[in-house]
Symmetry: C2
Subunit: 274 residues, 2 copies
């Protein structure tokens, strides 16, 4: 059991959803955790610059802002609106001091996946210049195929790599989330490809429970499921990624528990299984 310390551990605000961001910052800082990824709902009613300063003053890094995206729609007005919305997310990240925006790219069940994929390419391309200008990077996050209907038409790391090749801007890369990708027989090869192109911008962990009772909110703590998280982390490290490991757990049952002992369990799981 290696203890890598907690300076490379980052937690997503949504993981401890019951906590206001001020509480999360305080608790993470006290535990010695290295970073925080801010979900936009956690900013609700707060100035991003103020929250960013508070995070840094507590000794934490702002790792990324979650999330932009949702570019795909059969409705062209909605597509334009999504681009406007993403430009405001990039500005928000800039104000927060987040170097990265994670993109959940979108899908519309009312149209073929090929159309959603073309619209995502168009959408990311449309915002990449502004992101680069503000020094904010964009990470395309491939989502598990069970979200291909309405959340993301980008469902494998190969697709994300292909899209990055097409966009071909150094500020556009990939977020690798073990929950979405562990099943893929091409994962190791695509992680290598991703690393060679220097586009692994983020690494997210959680675990796949058996049985999984809900398509969205039944993720497990690392070690409680079947994902070979450490093996994937090692592949990602060999591919050149040296950023923080981000814990992103959506769980109705874990949100219902006392968040302090839950945070202790996350830290313990990070030490033993990541």
């Amino acid at each position: 059991m290696i203890d890598p310390g907690l300076s490379r551990l980052c937690i997503h605000t949504i993981t401890n959803k019951p906590w206001a961001i001020e509480t999360a910052i305080e608790e993470y800082a006290r535990a010695g955790i290295g970073g925080i990824t801010v979900w936009r709902d956690a900013l609700d009613g707060r100035g991003p610059a103020v929250v960013g300063k508070r995070i840094r003053d507590a000794g934490l890094a702002v790792v990324s802002l979650c999330r932009g995206g949702f570019f795909a729609s059969a409705n062209p007005v909605a597509r334009s609106e999504a681009i406007r919305e993403n430009l405001s997310v990039i500005l928000q990240a800039h104000e927060l001091g987040a170097p990265l925006v994670v993109l959940v790219c979108g899908a519309d069940p009312a149209q073929p996946l090929e159309d959603s994929r073309a619209q995502i390419l168009e959408g990311v391309s449309a915002i990449a210049g502004e992101a680069a200008r503000l020094g904010v990077r964009l990470a395309i996050e491939p989502l598990h195929p069970m979200y291909a209907d309405s959340r993301s038409a980008i469902n494998t790391l190969e697709q994300a790599n292909d899209m990055c090749d097409l966009i071909d801007i150094p500020e556009v890369g990939v977020a690798i989330d073990v929950y979405h990708l562990f099943w893929d027989p091409h994962l190791a090869r695509q992680i290598e490809r991703c690393g060679a192109a220097k586009r692994i911008f983020a690494f997210h962990v959680s675990d796949w429970l058996t049985p999984t009772r809900d398509l969205l909110n039944d993720r497990g703590i690392m070690g409680d499921g079947c994902i070979p998280i450490r093996a994937i982390r090692e592949q990602v490290a060999r591919a050149g990624f040296n950023g923080q490991t981000e814990v992103e757990i959506f769980s109705t049952s874990l949100w219902a528990t006392d968040q302090r002992p839950y945070l202790d369990r996350i830290i313990d799981a990070y030490r033993h299984h990541v």
Copy 2:
């Protein structure tokens, strides 16, 4: 709206789970449906030969027996047991007069997917000879990646094609189910490959609902979801498949409805969306 007639329509007994198989046979025959795929639970306490005769006497074809498989286990005793069990399924198919057994290959969350995949290869290889001897074909069914933890480590048509290449026996092919595969950007290419190798043994349809409320039992009637079923059927037909289209819907909510009007809806959906 093309009406292809119902002679190419097959229904899985599990689709109308509340019906005893005798009722299903009677109802399908009255509707003019061409075939039936028998789930093993529907045979409970009945002689397969008797049920097979009853199906044929009603003018229906026995399309396949569902299901064998579940070869993967970290426990070698369980693996031997699975092989024995599959040999008895093949015998059951032979007695029933089913020309095909569909294989849900299995996965064990207690071991890496690579191990499960190797054990599946071993398991299918171990039973293929006996299947060939009895004139029963075996269809490897790739399952959606959301089942990679415990139901099947074969999650794409490419993997199924690769496994068939390795086994290299004409009696071992593939079942293509739109529900499991529609999200895959390589699907069209792999259907072509499958057809070129003359190994498309079955074609299953249902639809993906948005939102999907349950990982197992919330499939939709064709046309109620986002899968481009007709487009995939046309690809499968171009690849040389001319067998029956099988409706396989697991749905807690549809099972709770009156099965006769539900069957009418299936027939109507088959005419308009398949």
